[in-house]
């Protein structure tokens, strides 16, 4: 257990160093500032006092950036190791492929979470600077967002072991963003289709990652109040179960992969 803890620590540190030294986060923050600063100074028709659109835009950016970071981090866990041949000395060390996979996944999630926490700190600071206050549901929204990031990293990690980097990033983004916007509508779409297509759509609805479960932006922006505790637990359980299944599949793929 001690050995595994040390291995995980090393892998977490590696992911952190790589993510924060790549400067991606700083480029994203600059992009966010370039968008948000002019927006926050706008006074539509000379009327002042609107703030929800700023919160919504800021949260949309936080979501977009976190997805970018999560997919990128998940994607970079194994393919670069194969390309640079560092997978050999790594697997020659006293670590099994399964442990390596889990350790790397934990590292990637921890690094992505650190970036997400950084984005939320900036979001909170921007709200405070505008003299705003926070709804009680903010902690819930953050918890669900963290769970989403964990899920996105796992999807990207599995994809990285199956297809090329560009294909993985495109497919993962397509699935997660597609489900984010249209996931809850899939049963409606299935209604108007022929039985075979309807079955496909319903299957996608059943097994694709429901990223929309984790989105509390509207609840936060419009102050709907906190989600019921049971629902929160259900969403977190869904995320954990999904991550578990995806990582299990990734383990099977990695163990079958020839090095």
């Amino acid at each position: 257990m001690k050995l595994f803890a040390r291995q995980v620590c090393a892998l977490v540190k590696l992911s952190f160093v790589e993510l924060w030294r790549r400067n991606d986060i700083f480029a994203l923050v600059l992009l966010g500032l370039a968008l948000m600063v002019p927006l926050s100074m706008a006074t539509p028709f000379g009327a002042e006092g609107a703030s929800r659109y700023l919160d919504e835009m800021a949260l949309l950016l936080v979501w977009g950036f976190s997805l970018f970071i999560a997919l990128g981090t998940g994607q970079r866990l194994f393919p670069p190791e194969f390309e640079s041949r560092t997978i050999y000395p790594l697997l020659a060390k006293p670590i099994s492929r399964g442990r390596l996979l889990v350790g790397k996944y934990i590292g990637a999630v921890a690094a992505s979470w650190s970036a997400l926490a950084f984005f939320y700190v900036l979001f909170v600071a921007s709200v405070l600077l505008r003299g705003g206050t926070f709804a009680a549901e903010l902690p819930q929204a953050i918890v669900l967002h963290f769970a989403f990031v964990a899920l996105a990293v796992s999807v990207s990690l599995l994809g990285s072991l199956l297809v090329s980097a560009s294909a993985n990033l495109t497919l993962s983004a397509l699935v997660l963003v597609g489900m984010f916007f249209f996931g809850r509508r899939l049963p409606e779409y299935a209604e108007g289709l022929n039985p075979a297509l309807a079955w496909v759509v319903k299957t996608v609805y059943a097994i694709a990652p429901h990223s929309e479960f984790f989105d509390m932006r509207q609840r936060l922006v419009h102050g709907w109040g906190a989600v019921d505790g049971g629902v929160l637990v259900a969403v977190l359980a869904y995320a954990m179960w999904y991550v578990f299944v995806v990582i299990l599949l990734a383990d099977v793929v990695l163990n079958r992969k020839r090095v």
Binding site: A10, K13, L91, K93
Partner: protein, 243 residues
């Protein structure tokens, strides 16, 4: 460490890829404290053999035992140090961080890693560049960083794949001395190489591979006489005869 005196024991090992045998019926033994050179042309099956010795590949048939156990067992690998042919190590880390990372993977505590990293970086000549990101390293420097990571866990068996590639003459001499020092400390070393001169200077025994078959195994002293050309002659002759 295993009580068995054969550190590496390969018996009738065959590894096939899509019907093609990369290694065919290889039997090889390496005793404790021995230095063995593993020679062969490109595609002879050297790297596949090394991968099987490290547990990265399972043999199609035959048995591979390292330090008395199965190399796919992480506990066995804890006693093996491996340096790949040319690896581009994590570009965002510096050499010290690289060793800290591999130390963590080996399960070493931070203090031990720090102490070993200092002495290893010194011995491979990277002490001055220890804080520079690896992406600024030359090929030879990366090779030296690779040697340092292989030695980090204080392994009983050192497996090196083309260790002299990319090293300048001074670094070669330095590295040769390093390996001699390890040998004197009783470490078992197995390395593949195209550098026949270095092999002859370092090894107790050599094995020559051709198209997956081991065509020669024997002590270097049997062929040594008037310098590096002997091994070269043997190598060429063996390959010629194996046709």
């Amino acid at each position: 460490m295993s009580e068995c005196s054969d550190i590496v024991q390969l018996e009738g090992v065959t590894r096939a890829f899509a019907g093609t045998k990369a290694v065919d019926g290889l039997s090889l033994k390496l005793k404790a404290g021995e230095v063995m050179g593993f020679l062969g042309t490109n595609g002879a099956g050297k790297t596949t053999t090394i991968k099987m010795m490290l547990g990265l590949l399972a043999p199609t048939s035959g048995t591979v035992k390292v330090l008395g156990g199965d190399p796919s067992d992480p506990h066995v690998r804890a006693h093996i140090g491996y340096m790949p042919e040319v690896a581009t190590y994590y570009p965002y880390l510096n050499a010290r961080e690289l060793l800290a990372f591999y130390g963590g993977i080996c399960g070493l505590d931070a203090k031990t890693v720090r102490l070993r990293a200092d002495s290893l970086l010194e011995s491979v000549g990277l002490a001055d560049a220890a804080k520079r990101p690896l992406k600024t390293y030359s090929k030879g420097m990366l090779q030296r960083a690779g040697i340092a990571q292989a030695l980090l866990g204080d392994p009983d068996l050192l497996v090196l794949d083309e260790p002299f590639t990319g090293l300048d003459p001074l670094a070669r001499i330095h590295f040769r001395e390093l390996l001699r020092g390890l040998k004197e400390r009783g470490k078992t070393i197995f390395f593949s190489s195209h550098e026949l001169g270095e092999t002859e200077l370092l090894c107790d025994r050599v094995a020559i591979m051709k198209k997956g078959h081991c065509v020669y195994q024997g002590p270097v002293k049997d062929i040594a006489g008037d310098g590096a050309t002997n091994l070269e002659r043997l190598f060429l002759k063996t390959l010629e005869e194996a046709k």
